[in-house]
């Protein structure tokens, strides 16, 4: 046995064992060593086309063309080239020509195979009328050809839905009356699936449902594919819970089936179980990270969950990466709606923000004015009673008026403080002494603590005799402090020995800290990530808008600082505002924004 035969044997052996890529490697070697032997090229092309990756069709084509140079009249080679060209899915002008050349030279089964291959080429080139003719041709030669019948049905459904419907119906009824046999059952299942799919596409959902029930009773068994088709039909009918039950069963049998997961997502979404829908879509994407269905499902679910920003990102991805699907799913329109929602939410946010700080301030002011108004009221009411009862003496006039005067002064101060806060310019920054700001704020809000028996301890650091100064907007900073103090107060309100601490500190790295702590129950783990997200609140809606922490963090971010949460040692919550000290801030920011005039 010469070395050529040995190599050939090796190749045949590998083929036997199904080790096709290794066989292909040896065939390349064979071609190099024996470039005049057609066998090497022919075998290589066959293996590549039948068993290997589509990416290698090009190599196969070259091999066949080389072989054809050695044996220009080989019908087998010409057929193989024809197949290759069709499977390569390129625009090949030669295909028609080659078909015409081959069709008259091949007979029997070979002829039918050629016709099928050509039909699939025509189908892909969307030349459906010619495709239809090919199927008719096949049926003329072999009237029971199932593939041609199906092909014809597909062509009809493109051209004439009514005709296609009738054709499917005939196929379905005809098959039922045909002789029993293994093939009959397979074909019944197959045609039921195709017919149902056709009916679905024609929006004849009820007909599809009837057909599938009929199929169930005719076949007396269920296949996973038929159950899945039924589930899809149920989804279309809007019966999502029944569909979901079927899909769950299929998912157990076919856990890696992307389509099943997708339909499960659709059902969960429709049933309003958005969290679960999101999970299922994520599993779909684990199986196929490039599924436009999965991404679109996630986008729509997020949008429904009110997570507009996240949904927007996903829709953008779908638009960029799967433009055809984006059109099919109407993503552009959804995207526009979403943009509008985001704008609306932004406006709502701004409104709510304004309402939030003014509301807090207003309620503090309302409490604070109770005292002076109460004193004026009591003093004047007492004076009037005295007059009525002739108990009023002239020397009572001066202390009464002085009492009233003092209280109106107090009222004036309260109102001025509120106006300063409400009307304050929130755009400009200035030098702010943190300790002064805290003292001023606490002056206004203290009442809300004492009234509820909550101890409020302030510990403002002055140890190094340098004021704690930062570059910020005082009103916004005050707003942050009010938010944190209100949260702390509400966290301890029902506690017996309730306490809130406000502390300031200059850290060793020069940063300035403002810390608000309480001895409440702290923030539970799962809420920590969410607490800075707008409109998320654990409080009852009358107490919180769910904006306080979101706004506060945004403000502090803008000042180049950080706002973060930690558990307080010994239990409770601890929020820290960390700001750059003024000196380092000046070096960082552009000099023009620094102004030293007092805007207070």
């Amino acid at each position: 046995m010469d070395s050529k035969d040995t190599l050939r044997m090796q190749i045949e052996e590998l083929k036997e064992q199904g080790r096709y890529s290794e066989a292909a490697e040896l065939l390349i070697q064979f071609q190099k060593e024996y470039p005049d032997d057609v066998w090497g090229f022919y075998e290589f092309a066959t293996i590549t086309i039948r068993h290997l990756n589509k990416a290698r069709y090009g190599e196969a084509r070259i091999a066949i063309e080389l072989a054809l140079k050695l044996d220009p009249d080989s019908l087998n080679l010409k057929r193989l080239l024809f197949d290759t060209l069709v499977w390569m899915k390129g625009e090949e002008p030669n295909v028609d020509e080659m078909f015409n050349e081959l069709v008259d030279k091949l007979y029997g089964k070979d002829n039918l195979r050629l016709l099928y291959t050509y039909a699939s080429f025509l189908s892909r080139s969307k030349r459906h009328e010619q495709e239809e003719q090919i199927y008719l041709e096949i049926l003329r030669k072999s009237p029971n050809e199932y593939g041609a019948q199906l092909g014809l049905a597909r062509c009809y459904s493109v051209r004439d839905a009514e005709l296609a419907g009738k054709y499917y119906e005939n196929l379905w009824n005809g098959l039922q009356q045909s002789d029993p046999g293994k093939r009959r059952k397979h074909r019944l299942i197959d045609i039921a699936l195709r017919y149902s799919g056709f009916l679905r596409k024609q929006n004849r959902i009820a007909d599809a449902y009837t057909l599938l029930n009929e199929a169930e009773s005719v076949l007396k068994t269920q296949t996973v594919d038929l159950i899945f088709e039924k589930a899809v039909v149920l989804v279309k009918m809007g019966n999502h819970s029944e569909a979901y039950e079927l899909l769950k069963k299929i998912n157990i049998k076919r856990p890696k089936d992307r389509l099943v997961l997708n339909q499960m997502g659709v059902c969960l979404w429709a049933m309003g179980k958005l969290d679960e829908a999101l999970e299922v879509y994520k599993r779909e994407l684990e199986i196929d990270p490039n599924s436009p269905y999965g991404w679109t499902g996630i986008g729509i679910t997020l949008s429904e969950m009110g997570k507009h920003q996240e949904a927007r990102e996903i829709f953008l991805k779908v638009q960029n990466e799967f433009p055809d699907y984006a059109t099919k799913f109407g993503i552009q329109e959804r995207f526009r709606e979403l943009e509008q929602k985001i704008v609306d939410q932004q406006i709502e946010l701004e409104e709510a923000k304004k309402f939030s700080y003014l509301g807090k301030m207003a309620s503090a002011v309302a409490h604070e004015i109770n005292q002076p108004v109460g004193i004026i009221r009591a003093a004047t009411s007492a004076g009037l009673s005295d007059l009525d009862e002739e108990k009023f003496q002239f020397e009572n006039v001066k202390p009464l008026l002085e009492r009233i005067w003092t209280q109106t002064e107090r009222l004036n101060a309260i109102i001025n403080n509120f106006r300063r806060f409400a009307r304050g310019d929130r755009t400009q920054r200035e030098i702010v002494d943190i300790n002064e700001l805290i003292a001023r704020t606490i002056n206004t809000f203290e009442v809300q603590f004492t009234q509820r028996n909550i101890a409020l301890e302030t510990n403002l650091n002055r140890s190094d005799d340098k004021p704690l100064r930062v570059w910020a907007n005082p009103y916004q900073l005050e707003e942050v402090l009010i938010n944190l103090m209100t949260n702390a107060r509400e966290a301890v309100e029902d506690k017996e020995t309730a306490k809130v601490w406000v502390r300031t500190n200059r850290r060793k790295d020069g940063k300035i800290e403002m810390i608000v702590e309480d001895n409440g129950s702290g923030i539970v783990e799962e809420y920590r990530d969410q607490m800075f997200v707008p409109f998320v609140s654990t409080k009852s809606s009358e107490k919180g808008t769910g904006l306080g922490l979101h706004i506060s963090r945004r403000i502090i971010d803008e000042f180049g600082g950080r706002l973060y949460y930690q558990d307080r040692e010994g239990g409770g919550a601890r929020f820290t505002v960390e700001l750059p000290a003024l000196d380092s801030e000046r070096n960082n920011k552009n000099g023009t924004r620094v102004q030293t005039t007092n805007r207070g």
């Binding site: 109770n370 005292q371 109460g374 004193i375 009591a378 003093a379 007492a382 009492r403 004492t450 028996n453």
Partner: protein, 145 residues
């Protein structure tokens, strides 16, 4: 007025204390004042008052807490509470503790406050009613009731 009523006013605002005290003193009440809850509780336990006027909003120990502790100590003095405008929750809490009346400071009328205080002071306390009833022979008591 048949006798001088003993009145305790508890408020952390000295101006409120002064104004109320002057008003009631002019009308022959015996007035004592306390400027926070702790002092108020002390005086309630050791003194005998007909009525106490108690502010709810106070540092250290607020009015509600003071009344609660006083009741725990067996003090049955009738209480009138003062609240800010619209502090209805506080009022409800106080009424649950058996407070006789509540007034909002910013809309107070002193003559009405005085009338209420007198009204309450004239009513014999429940414990006193029980004492009187227990002195009456059983049969007669049944007939009366």
């Amino acid at each position: 007025m048949e006798r001088e009523y003993k009145l305790l006013i508890v408020d952390d605002e000295s101006e409120i204390l002064n104004t109320y005290k002057e008003y009631f003193a002019k009308r022959d009440f015996q007035v004592e004042v306390a400027s926070n809850g702790i002092e108020g509780l002390e005086k309630l336990i050791h003194g005998e008052f007909d009525v106490a006027i108690v502010d709810i909003q106070m540092p250290k120990m607020n009015g509600i807490e003071m009344i609660r502790l006083a009741r725990k100590e067996g003090v049955d003095t009738d209480m009138v509470i003062l609240t800010g405008h619209g502090d209805r929750d506080d009022a409800v809490a106080a009424i649950n503790l058996g407070v006789s009346a509540w007034f909002e400071k910013p809309s107070i009328e002193m003559s009405k406050l005085k009338d209420k205080v007198v009204d309450i002071a004239q009513v014999i306390s429940l414990t006193e009613v029980e004492r009187i009833l227990s002195a009456i022979p059983n049969g007669e008591q049944r007939d009366r009731l």
